[in-house]
């Protein structure tokens, strides 16, 4: 196998960034296109891992900032997907007629509770 792990990592990051931009539109096509880009990124990363696993110590020099950046990108993408999935999970439960087990902020929700008693001015 030949290649430069730095280039593979950069290719993976580019794919993740493009996948992230796809989520500006909330439609199925964009999300599926995003998933394909992430799969390409995974393939590029696998190449980088294989290259480094071959023990080319020199090839690892200076890669840490790029890998840390990559992990930040993955983290941002994961956060976006998790948030949207959480919203949608609640929506799915609404569709099937059940009360959502949690609200959009992730808290457990039951029947609406009466407001606590407070002395108000106004």
């Amino acid at each position: 196998m030949c290649g430069d792990p730095a280039q593979s990592i950069e290719r993976a990051r580019d794919g993740i960034r493009r996948a992230l931009k796809q989520w500006n539109a909330a439609n199925l096509e964009s999300i599926e296109a995003s998933c394909l880009l992430l799969q390409e990124s995974a393939a590029a990363l696998k190449t980088a891992v294989d290259l480094l696993s071959q023990g080319k110590a020199g090839a690892a020099n200076g890669l840490q900032p790029a890998i840390l950046g990559l992990r930040r990108d993955i983290s941002a993408m994961s956060r976006l997907v998790d948030a949207c999935a959480a919203i949608h999970r609640g929506l799915t439960l609404r569709v099937v007629g059940a009360l959502p087990p949690y609200d959009a902020s992730g808290q457990t929700a039951g029947e609406p509770q009466a407001a606590p008693e407070h002395v108000l001015v106004g």
Partner: protein, 472 residues
């Protein structure tokens, strides 16, 4: 005939509803209305003539989707306020080391080094005084810039609280009108939801629609903002915390949100623009400038440096001659208020170059000067804070400020997309029955799952890469 007339009336109502939907298509907060029609029983012999009747208005607003958008918008407001204000804070820290405190620190240590080579040289002595004065001014300038930012955030907090009160007033007015009518007015309801959208940018809250149709708005901790026709007016103030008992009673005050009963509800505001402002002001800036419980990193650095330099100089003498005068402090600051050390740091106004003491307590002619020069890269505990040299400590402060901004900016960018997604999903389910959306919803869910699985693979590969370059 009566049945036909009634049906026509009902259909006329339905047409009015459709026309209303068309007219308000671009009204903020408006959701399409739908007139529910029901067949009336027909039994000619029993006198029931059949036909259509109206079973009331429904709107297509989904409470869950509304709450999802509000909740995500609150987080966007939070990150946006954080990103904007931490950007200002980080801009005051010059990470290049060519200006500000970082540069002035290096210049002072260089002047000590030059002076140690020629302790009696008046030019070298004067350079030390000049560098010390420049460093004190750099501390004063940084402290002043950060304090001004704190003041600007105070104003923003005050203005945001006013906006919240204004919106709460609009919701209270909606409740007043709602109690006077049997059915919700689509126009007024649109205004209500527009108001709630605006409120969600400012603070965290939840809503409960009561059986009488009025909307109760509660802040996250349960403090009511609006209940029925009553409004809880909030106010902002700037004060030094008294609970727990202050360690630094003269520290820079922090921001507080007070409800109409005088309760401090600051800790309940942890989202929305107000939450972001409070976090930046009461956590990020307080960490640097200090508050009732902490001295603040900038003051810790200013005091630590001044005390160490002064202690070294005052422990020695100005020459090796018998009976030579003791050294004089190089810096002054308000020691009665350690949480204001950076703002009051100054070159000792009474010191002259000849009063600098290069001779250490053991009589070495440049022992003190060498000890001062060594503070740039200390080998022991003297001249360190938390194990870092003064230059490293300032670098850590700059790095922390930059990290705060980087995190807030990244969160803001991601959150913008979350809000876009939530808003789009809400709009997609407005105007159509949820049953019709069931298939699409499940497809979305599958797409999310597939994406999440690929992300898990990516995350694992990223971890593998880290392990490969950083052997455990």
């Amino acid at each position: 005939m009566a049945a036909a007339g009634n049906a026509l009336d009902v259909l006329q109502q339905a047409l009015s509803v459709i026309q209303n939907n068309v007219d308000n298509a671009s009204t903020p907060g408006y959701a399409a209305q739908q007139l529910n029609l029901e067949a009336m029983p027909m039994d000619i012999t029993g006198g029931l003539v059949g036909g259509l009747s109206s079973a009331g208005l429904d709107n297509s607003r989904d409470p869950y989707a509304e709450e999802a958008v509000e909740s995500q918008t609150q987080m966007l407001g939070y990150y946006t306020a954080q990103a904007q204000n931490t950007s200002a804070i980080q801009s005051y820290f010059d990470v290049t080391g060519t200006s500000g405190v970082s540069s002035a620190l290096s210049a002072l240590f260089q002047s000590f080094s030059a002076w140690s080579a020629t302790p009696s040289d008046s030019a070298a002595q004067q350079n030390v005084l000049t560098a010390a004065n420049n460093l004190a001014q750099a501390f004063n300038g940084l402290d002043n810039s950060l304090t001004q930012t704190a003041s600007q955030i105070d104003s923003q907090v005050s203005s945001t609280v006013q906006q919240i009160n204004t919106i709460a007033g609009q919701i209270q007015q909606y409740n007043v009108q709602r109690l006077q009518s049997t059915q919700p007015d689509p126009g007024e309801e649109a205004q209500l939801y527009s108001a709630l959208d605006n409120l969600s940018q400012l603070t965290n809250f939840s809503t409960v629609t009561q059986s009488d149709g009025t909307v109760t708005v509660l802040l996250a901790g349960g403090t009511p903002l609006v209940i029925g026709t009553q409004q809880n007016t909030l106010s902002a103030n700037v004060s030094v915390d008294t609970q727990p008992a202050p360690i630094y009673s003269q520290s820079l005050p922090t921001d507080h949100i007070i409800d109409s009963n005088g309760n401090d509800i600051t800790s309940q505001i942890d989202s929305g623009q107000l939450g972001g402002l409070l976090d930046t002001r009461n956590r990020v800036l307080a960490g640097i400038l200090g508050d009732s419980q902490q001295q603040g990193t900038i003051n810790q650095l200013a005091q630590g440096l001044a005390d160490t330099v002064n202690q070294i100089l005052e422990s020695g003498t100005v020459s090796t001659a018998p009976g030579a005068a003791n050294g004089t402090a190089l810096f002054t600051y308000d020691s009665s208020n350690p949480a204001n050390a950076a703002a009051t740091l100054a070159l000792n106004p009474s010191i002259t170059g000849s009063e600098l003491a290069p001779v250490d307590a053991s009589g070495n002619s440049n022992g003190n000067a060498n000890a001062l020069a060594a503070l740039e890269d200390p080998t022991g505990t003297q001249g360190t804070i938390n194990g870092m040299s003064y230059i490293e400590y300032f670098g850590q402060m700059a790095s922390d400020a930059g990290q705060e901004n980087a995190t807030a900016t990244a969160n803001q960018q991601t959150q913008q997309q979350v809000v876009a997604q939530a808003t789009s999903l809400r709009d997609q389910i407005s105007g159509v029955s949820l049953d019709k959306e069931a298939t699409a919803v499940l497809q979305f869910q599958q797409a999310y799952q597939a994406t999440a699985q690929v992300l898990t693979v990516l995350d694992n590969l990223g971890q593998d890469l880290m392990n490969l370059i950083v052997p455990e």
